[in-house]
Symmetry: C2
Subunit: 221 residues, 2 copies
């Protein structure tokens, strides 16, 4: 056993990016201290550790900051060999996982997040676009339980927004994006993922998230 390590996560409880890091740490069985940031009054520590983006999440490991959720997850996988591997061992498997994680961040999430800015026919069109992107992602599950195979990997962690956040937005806004008819495999994945014990203990409760997002949407109106 290594000497006691300092592991601190600067995040917010309702951010999918911050929660990704919690899933990764919990998959590895790493003890950490969660430091809840107030994004309208950021702590001097956050600004010191992430002077470029001034954003959460930041992982502080023995005094050294690591920034950006995608970067932090790979750091965690490379630093702690305990628990299951988050990325495959072979270069091609790694490349594939990184490709789909990037697809979620750069392609799918911007479209999904934009849905709430539209109304009526325009909204229907954007939802259709989001579903097409999610179908591409779904094709990657092809017969596997998780994107990572039998265990939760990089793409599963990155997709936490799809598993929990979208459903809460659907409820608040009275829309449907992910349905069993259109995305049956993804729906099964959401069930398996949210029922996995590590994910369950790493995500906010649906009620907590509903309360938070509902307030955010009302503030913007």
């Amino acid at each position: 056993m290594a000497a006691r390590q300092e592991v601190k996560l600067f995040g917010t409880p309702n951010s999918p990016y911050s929660r990704r890091v919690e899933i990764a740490l919990n998959l590895k069985g790493v003890d950490y201290e969660f430091v809840a940031e107030n994004l309208s009054n950021k702590s001097p520590e956050l600004l010191e550790y992430n002077p470029v983006h001034k954003m959460i999440p930041v992982l502080l490991h023995n005094g050294k900051p690591v920034v950006e959720s995608a970067v932090i997850i790979e750091y965690i996988d490379e630093t702690w060999s305990s628990g299951s591997s988050i990325l495959p061992a072979d270069p091609l498997g790694k490349a594939n996982a990184r490709f789909w994680a990037k697809f979620i961040d750069d392609k799918a999430m911007p479209v999904i997040r934009s849905i709430r800015r539209f109304q009526g026919e325009e909204q229907v069109r954007v939802i259709g676009e989001a579903v097409e992107l999610l179908k591409l992602l779904e094709s990657e599950l092809k017969g596997k339980k998780f994107f990572g195979g039998e265990t939760i990997g990089l793409v599963d962690i990155t997709a936490n927004f799809i598993a929990l956040w979208i459903g809460v937005y659907e409820e608040i806004m009275g829309i449907r994006v992910i349905t069993k008819e259109k995305l049956p495999v993804l729906c099964q994945w959401i069930d398996d993922y949210l029922n996995s014990s590590i994910v369950k203990k790493s995500l906010p409760s649906r009620d907590q998230l509903y309360e938070y997002l509902d307030l955010q949407i009302k503030k913007r109106r």
Copy 2:
């Protein structure tokens, strides 16, 4: 020596993303076949190997496609141990390199690429914004020859747009973004980088790039 491998790069000669992959392959001393794509009439191979984005660059290695320049560069580093390492060996060094590579792609390049859409005072403002981002990047060089230290690494490769493309745009458009007064360390890096033998053989000539970008800009007017 391993058996003869099939390594094909589907790219275009004037794309910084495609050229990144060429630098990485040349750093590792990997022989490859360059397949020049016509982006207004993409080959069936490109569409087959990259059905999601339908974009270059695609690396084909023994029949398996790897997509997205950032993903391809890491794949090359993990697959070929010949030549110099593109990423540091330690997790913290890796995280730092990935952070700055992401910074170039997600923060700096979008602002720099937007300059040509502005005129007059607005353009001056956007150039100022670009310089501030490049100053942040410059701070990462602090006393090192390359971002990778003594050798060219992930961030240097990712920054090829900054080393060559920006200067050509400046000439065509009659503007100045990178000056010795504002960015002296970055200017020195550009000199060292463009004079490195591997980079020299991996990038288009300035004249070729000028001719290409000049035509592109005239077409858009």
